[in-house]
Amino acid sequence: MKKKPRKKDSEDKQHTLADLLKKHGAQIYDDLDKGNFPKFSIPSRSVSNIVYDKKIRQYILGANTAVRSSRNTSQLRAFTQLMWLAFFANRLTGQKKSSTLRDVYYSSQAFEVDFEDQSESDNIIVDLEAVLASPRESFHVFPEERSSVFGDLTIEYTVPGYEGKKTNLSDHPDGYAIGPSLTSSEFTETSAEVVIAIEKGGLFTRFVEEQVDKKFKAIIVDTGGQAPRSTRTLLKRLHDELSLPVVILTDGDVYGEHIAMVIKSGSANAAHLRELTVPDAKWVGVWATDIEKYKLPTIPMTESDIKRCHDLLKDPRYQEGIWKKELEVFLKIKRKAELEAFSKYGLTNITDKYLPQKLEIAKSL
């Protein structure tokens, strides 16, 4: 079954961002021209201003804003850095070039804008995200880490030099790296009915080998542990534009559970952004209850595992449903199991037995 993707105009989005940058630039230009010290406000990212929004099921920033003024000498440097980054982002998007956090750090040195280290420049990037309310990928700053995707999805590139070129993501058995050109491409055609995000590369390969994509009409995404932003953006687009349900498979431990939660509802670190979450995504395993149910080989939880459980139990997102229940079971059995544990019953047990059951359960979640 082929689906016609909903129209998504990334061109428009770029225009909006460029307009926003221009608007800020013009405002500051006018201030300077009048001899006033320019200033602008940034949503405060301090812990006290991060609140959980139940409606959109993610952490967001509260109403507090911090004014950054160029008159204040202790803020002047950071102000200039932010201005430079806006200027640099404007050039990146205008010229359709991509960049990384590290790139940004080094690029600054061509403009006498000195960052002491990369963490300082990373911080300014987050500031700009907050000001523009857009993730860094929207102004062409991409993460280094790459995860992969495989399945029947035809994409059409928009990056310079590849415009109009199409690729099907099932053409290469190792999968396709989720980079800027992939996340910025248009989705043209797919037969998939579900997206399966899996925590580990090894299992991803197994799923491709066992043709999970065909058997279950699935697009398989390797998150490589905690899903990078580009991967989360891709998952969100697959869900929003293709109306595909997203299910997540992780190791049966507290960290795995949280990997799923971040895909679903984001992280406190990215509370200033709202385009990275898939609120309808479903975590299907490995649950703590699965460990007993499938009699999986286990390893004991460490002290930090246990502490993490207690921490998460205080998080508003873990106050109901399986999220709360599974955490409590983990704390009770004090053991954990990896996805590979199913190999005890044979290498294909996980795709033959476990996955179908779980996909079935997912429908009722």
């Binding site: 500051i28 300077l32 001899g35």
Partner: protein
Amino acid sequence: MSSKETFSQISPSEFFYRNRDLAGFSNPTRSLYTAVREFVENSLDACDQKGILADVHMSIKAVDAEKPDPKQYILTVRDNGPGIESNHVPLAFGTVLYGSKFGLKQARGMFGLGATMAILYGQITTNKPVNVKSSTDGKTQDEYEMLLDIQKNKPVILRHETKEVSKTGLSVSICLEGDYAKAGSKIRDYVYQTSLITPYATITFDDPKGEKYRYTKVIRTMPPSPTVIRPHPHGIDVETIRRMLLDTHYQIPAVDDNMISKVRKELGLANKNLSHSEIMDKTQKKWKTLTRSVRIVMALVSFLKMDFEKLSKTTIEEIDIGNKKLTYWDFGESQSISVDMDPESFYYKQLANTVQGETLTSFLTKRFQRVGPTTALKFAEYAKFKPEHRIGTMTNQELVKLTDGLQSFDDFMAPDPSCLAPLGESPLKKGMERFFEPDFLEVVQRGASAYSGFPFVIEMGIAYGGKISSRGMKVYRFANRIPLLYDEGSDVVLKVVNDTDWSRYKVKGDPPLVIVSHICSTRVPYKTVGKENVADRPEIERELKLALLSLSRKLSSFMSKRGQAEAAIKRKNLYSKYIPLIAQFCTELAGKKKEPNYKKMITEEPIVEKET
């Protein structure tokens, strides 16, 4: 006293020879430094006392420069002071315990012993004589070369010459074993710091390596000199009281020919030979004009009932006030004769007064500072003595009781500070200015205060920035215009400085800050024999704190003004650096061609908040 007899077995020179460690001559390093101090301080004291602005020239030269230390050096100190009378020179420099500095007032050294000790040390280590050149009139100069006979405590003059000169002054030159390699920095510090606290003097130093240090005077007026004063009751001990009593007692005068002619003169008898009763009549009439000794003689005569002829042939043996008997030796009859005294007689009372000494109240008001008749009466009541108690009749126990009372009675007025010689705020300021050329300088002189009956005055200065090169706080300590160079760790001044929370006064990190502290007192309470650190007497600590407080407040206001000015400059620099960048970036962002007109934002003078 018996202890005195023990020491009289050896001469003072011998005693010091055997105990030279005590006087600071323990090794070649220490000895060279101590010798320098003794001579320089003697010169400065001599000039101070005569109100002469001192020029002190010091040089140290190696006898044989090639030799390694320790070796023989020639130390010469020359001044423009009053000099020493030619006939006193051999005694002053050739005997131990011959000095002029006795009395209660502030001076650098105590008795002038140190210089003789240095000469003694030089002679012991090199067997070379001391050379002294002195001119008191600015016309002739006496030059002596002499050795000290240690056993006899007598000078041995080897050479004595006189010649014509044009200036007064004293020059002393000795040869001694020293270690300049080790003592050098200490000596240079000493010269430097002495100049700092003596801005009215020129001090020069030529060191053995040919380095010349020159500190010329920056002021030409002498700070007021101290006066010698009577002791304060709080600062007294039993031995001092006993000595004061001794010279309070009027000796029974010897009735020799001199005395008799004095009596005749005062009574206006000329050469007339009057009868006893006629003489006594005259005495009655002229009593009020008679001197004390004549009164005593006449009181005796009233009981002896003899004329001057006979009186000249007697000696008074005993005046027994208790038994009212007067005993004399009659040369003519070669026997002791006692006569009764009529206790009702006017003359008996006069005699009793003399023999038993003054009353307690009179003794206190006359012999101590700051004690009036009212205070004396209050004290008598406090110490449980009758005000009219004759001090001549006091037993040992009573003397101890009196001393304890004097030390503990709270109502005596504070000691008279006129015996102190603080430098004064302006000279201290000029001295510090010369050395540090600071951005900020304040000095303060506290009012006189006292501890244990010894008056003291604290002077302090604080300097910041300018040519002060040291990083971190540097404290220069002085006592009676002498630098205290060592053992500063345990000094009360350091304690007070370190107890201060400097961040409250906007002083942070390692500031280029100098504190000069000067304690003036007739007795500085040193902690150790080395006289390098001052003990933390609460009274002194309090005054130091108050002085430092008033200075650091002024420093604080300077620092905040300076901070504002620095911040304004810093602000301007930051604007100049970053505003053009912001302009560049926003021009491209806004899609404009021409940069905004931001120039005035970075060229305008920074606004400095006005002083409030």
